[in-house]
Amino acid sequence: MAKRIDVSGLSAYYGNHLAIEDISMTVEPRSVTAFIGPSGCGKSTFLRTLNRMHEVTPGGRVEGKVMLDEENLYGAGVDPVAVRRTVGMVFQRPNPFPTMSIYDNVAAGLRLNGTAKRKKDLDTIVERSLVGANLWNEVKDRLNKPGAGLSGGQQQRLCIARAIAVEPDVLLMDEPCSALDPISTLAIEDLIGELKERFTIVIVTHNMQQAARVSDRTAFFNLAGVGQPGRLIELDETQRIFSNPSAQATEDYISGRFG
């Protein structure tokens, strides 16, 4: 079930290095929100604070609040493991479990923490997830083959199938197409369009055309200089960001007059 994300006053550190500072924004459910900005401005860092993955990096520390509907993800007594079950993530480089078959990759999340299901239910969910990731037709005859044997684009869709199999509330994607060829990229962009019917989607991209194609709203991040923390400049309807942004920095960036 898609949920709204409400971030307020969020800062993230690597040790003593402040990577992003005082970010507040709202991510609407059942829509695609794109994060754009120059590299190093903290897009990945911010994304990883949304499912509490930032803190697994040595020295990683977060201040501020992330509300998922009514629940503060950083509230006292909240288990990060439980957070990551409801906020799924797809990485820049496809990372299927190399030692698992295609089937087991998709079922991996379902088998965690004693949530073992009956074989029949598992079959149904695996098929539904692969269909959902537009991968079913390509792999239905080789579900028991290793996932690492697929092409890069197929592997990334396998990772998406794995992420949606556990029915998360939110799906985070960190430059999911940057390691893929144009055709595979298109396939994933189409897929994102379908997935937003069911999930809240946040996608980091360095490709502004991609942001324009897939997202409903776009957030622009920037940093004042090397070593300075990244900040959110503005978040608005994608159309507005690309036609008539309110901040000068955004306009400079999207028109290529950057830096």
Binding site: R84, F91, P96, F97, P146, A163
Partner: protein, 327 residues
């Protein structure tokens, strides 16, 4: 047993009038020469061992494979490897059963659980333990471990004696048994297996672990889904290193075991022997023929080691397409 290092290392012989530098020629000559020398030495060793083995075994008045006792210097000579093969395999199996889980546990603790300020010194200590000479372990085993085994053996005898394996024929006898040897061997090989496993665990790509974490895996589930499968072949290799040391261990076994030509299922009884221990105990007073007989037993140990290694390679190869390295 890779016997052709020159073939793969040396550059292709220069064809026609290619210019070759003096340095290259010297290096080529050196590497080719040492390669050939190595081959010749190995062939000589093989011939020597085989000839001695055949001559000894052909004069054996017992059956070399099934005879229990080792009386190669009697007339007529009667000797066999049954007890030695059994004792070698049993003590090594005991050692592996104990050492493997403990080593993987310590290695995982160092690589994935302990905070760095605990992990580094711990890793260092384990490194040091791997370098302790085996005679030191042997002395420790004989002087400390053997006298302190009574409680454990009595307990095993009392509660697990019905399994036959843990039955003591004469309760309360000194613990110079294959079981104690197995424990000592386990202690000796734990540092080796731990070190190698730890290195392998450390090499698991971050991306694999994050894949599991992002799905909502607990730390243990990350280990199970990402770390152990990736490290599988490395763990097998680490075990082989440890097993190799256990199979061939001489001094530690010779100091602890009270050997006798008895083949018994009661592993707590002070009886039995191993190949390496048998060679060490007999080599000093052996006649020329007795030495040939011992060489024959050494060859059998070598064959067992080869078989074990072959089996390990098969385990690694069987799931090659699923190995982490393919990603």
């Amino acid at each position: 047993m890779d016997t052709t290092p020159t073939d793969s290392l040396a550059p292709p012989a220069p064809a026609g009038k290619t210019v070759t530098r003096a340095g290259d020629r010297v290096f080529l000559g050196l590497s080719r020469g040492s390669g050939i020398l190595l081959l010749v030495i190995m062939a000589a060793i093989a011939v020597f061992l085989t000839v001695r083995t055949i001559s000894a075994v052909s004069q054996d008045h017992g059956n070399f494979l099934t005879t229990f006792e080792w009386n190669a210097d009697n007339t007529p000579p009667v000797f066999g490897i049954a007890v030695l093969a059994y004792g070698t395999v049993v003590s090594s199996v005991i050692a592996m059963v104990i050492a493997l889980p403990v080593s993987i546990g310590i290695a995982l603790f160092i690589s994935h659980y302990a905070p760095r300020r605990v992990a580094s010194p711990l890793a260092y200590v384990v490194d040091l333990l791997a370098a302790v000479p085996s005679i030191v372990y042997g002395l420790w085993g004989a002087l400390y471990l053997v006298p302190h085994m009574q409680g454990l053996t009595a307990w095993l005898d009392q509660y697990l004696g019905w399994t036959v394996v843990f039955k003591q024929s004469a309760p309360g006898t000194a613990a110079r048994s294959l079981f104690t040897v197995g424990i000592l061997l386990a202690i000796m090989i734990i540092p080796i297996i731990t070190n190698v496993s730890r290195e392998v665990f450390r090499q698991v790509p971050r991306a694999h672990e994050e894949a599991a974490l992002a799905l909502g895996a607990t730390r243990w589930e990350v280990v199970r889904m990402s770390v152990l499968p990736f490290a599988r072949s490395g763990i097998v290799s680490a075990s082989m290193l440890g097993l190799g040391r256990a199979l061939g261990e001489t001094m530690a076994v010779a100091t602890v075991l009270s050997s006798s030509p008895v083949l018994t299922a009661h592993i707590l009884d002070p009886a039995g022997g191993t190949f390496a221990q048998n060679i060490a105990s007999h080599f000093g007073e052996a006649t020329d023929f007795g030495r040939d007989a011992l060489i024959a037993s050494g060859l059998v140990l070598f064959v067992i080691t080869l078989l074990v290694n072959g089996a390990a390679r098969m385990i690694i190869a069987r799931r090659k397409e699923y190995s982490g390295a393919a990603a």
